[in-house]
């Protein structure tokens, strides 16, 4: 990588074709573990370090979840399929696109910008 400051470092992760929708890659970027996800054709990157207790967030299942129901209704409405990442340790749920934790939006997993350049998936840190 170039000798630019950390903030502008670009890391080529893989060919875009090697990260199809629904898949993820976990990469070590100069000692920082980062998960790169393809959610319906869009790429998103999250720090593989959970804001709860520093667990391996990005190694958990990518899934959907039950949406909150109103007025205590005992109903199950399943949604957000493919948009939810459950931490591999204690299972806190995070929205992949924003890093927001479903139980408390103030709890956020760190996200990184991802672009596609020359057919390469590139993470900006």
């Amino acid at each position: 990588m170039s000798a630019m400051t950390d903030k502008r470092k670009h890391y080529a992760i893989c060919k875009a074709a090697d990260l199809p929708p629904g898949q993820r890659i976990i990469a070590d970027l100069d000692g920082r573990s980062v998960g790169v996800f393809n959610v319906n054709g869009e790429y998103h990157a999250l720090h593989n370090r959970c804001p709860h207790a520093a667990g391996t967030l990005c190694m958990g299942p990518v899934t959907g979840t039950t949406l909150p129901t109103e007025h205590g209704a005992r109903e199950f409405v399943y949604g957000s399929e493919g948009h939810i990442l459950r931490c591999a340790w204690h299972g806190w749920e995070f929205e992949i696109e924003t890093g927001k934790c479903l139980i408390d939006a103030k709890v956020r997993a760190k996200t990184f910008k991802v672009s596609v350049e020359n057919d390469q998936v590139v993470v900006h840190i």
């Binding site: 520093a54 340790w89 299972g91």
Partner: protein
């Protein structure tokens, strides 16, 4: 640093076939199992974890990986000096109605852990698992293996047929006391003959239930103290593993108050229940309660003398794992909780190296 709750799992209960008594080998080989071949004979609890009770970043597919993943994710990463193995499903023998089969399975597990796990790593120390519904068989097992140099405790599930201070279990306490090993209960065994794991009737959801599963451990604490276990076996320690900790001061306050008025009911109890607890009961930390205000948690822990009563446990590789480098405890308590207290309880462990030189302090 000492990790008091490390789960050594298998890929298939078939690993026990070479280690089980011939009569019961047929049961395990051809008998009914609760799942596919290779599942372990037990009555499962009626609450199923909706996402699996194991961590999702650790998925061993064979027996070698059970160890190599543990080495990578626990032993070499956090560098405990001691990992006390607590088995996995073997604890669930306590749910079986047939005490003979239950004891045979427990013995097979103990043979297996001694033969295959202990030689793998010099950080390993073993618990031997007993079938508490078979007190005589359990006592024989304790006498058979209690003097093994790497066996440090006798373990049963906290889900139980009766409270553990009950007369029914006298042979177990007697045998533990003879061989000088602590008796420990670990969260589990909430099914089959242990039919009352939740007071008030069965709860509905896993997370709801998991928060309440500690209930039988309250029963056991009250039972062992009121039944005078520590008067009859003054060398005994009772260890409560994975049952939460902050309920202890509350229960001890209540027991103390009641004993003052009604001592006559149990003339063998000569001291305050809280004094027996202080001298004879230890609790493992995981899963340590997570308080919004850390100080509130620490105040409760101080009320139970947490610095001296608690022993660190990670519960690797389960979903409610506590990482040793992220313990929300007062720094000055860490040398004892992360190391010193367990060495007092598990007397076969080597003494601590140098006072004040603890890895726990560095990691805090």
């Amino acid at each position: 640093m000492i990790d008091c709750d490390v789960h050594n799992d298998w890929s298939s209960s078939n690993v026990l076939l070479p280690y089980i008594d011939t009569t019961f080998r047929d049961y395990l080989l051809r008998g009914e199992l609760p799942g596919a071949r290779g599942s372990f004979p037990h009555a499962h609890r009626p609450w199923l974890h909706p996402e699996d009770f194991r961590r999702h970043d650790i998925k061993p597919t064979n027996d070698d990986e059970h160890y190599s993943f543990m080495r990578e994710n626990l032993l070499d990463r956090y560098k405990p000096d001691v990992a006390i193995l607590t088995g996995e499903e073997a604890l669930e023998v306590s749910t079986l109605a047939n005490p003979h089969y239950a004891s045979a399975l427990a013995s097979a597990y103990n043979n297996w852990v001694i033969d295959t796990w202990l030689p793998r790593d010099d950080r390993f120390w073993a618990s031997i698992i007993i079938a508490p519904q078979d007190p005589q068989g359990a006592a024989a097992e304790i006498r058979r293996l209690g003097s093994h140099p790497r066996v440090v405790q006798v373990l049963a599930s906290h889900g139980s047929y009766r409270p553990y201070g009950d007369k029914f279990y006298d042979p177990i306490w007697q045998a533990c006391s003879e061989v000088g090993l602590p008796f420990a209960v670990h969260l589990g065994g909430q099914g089959g003959i242990n039919y009352q794991p939740i007071g008030g009737g069965p709860t509905t959801y896993y997370w709801e239930t998991h928060a309440l599963l500690l209930q039988p451990s309250m029963t056991h604490v009250a039972s062992v103290i009121s039944n005078g276990i520590f008067e009859r076996y003054p060398n005994m320690m009772f260890v409560v593993i994975e049952c939460g900790v902050t309920w202890l001061p509350s229960i001890l306050w209540r027991l103390d108050a009641n004993w003052k008025a009604l001592r006559k009911e149990t003339p063998w109890v000569k001291r305050l229940p809280s004094e027996y607890a202080r001298d004879h009961i230890r609790m493992s930390t995981q899963p340590l309660e997570e308080a919004a205000n850390k100080q509130h948690l620490w105040d409760v822990l101080a009320a139970m003398d947490g610095e001296n009563m608690l022993m660190f446990a990670s519960d690797y590789p389960h979903w409610d794992f506590d990482a040793p480098d992220d313990m929300q405890l007062p720094k000055e308590w860490l040398p004892k909780i992360m190391d010193g207290n367990a060495r007092q309880v598990y007397k076969k462990l080597p003494r601590q190296l140098v006072p004040n030189d603890t890895k726990a302090g560095v990691m805090s």
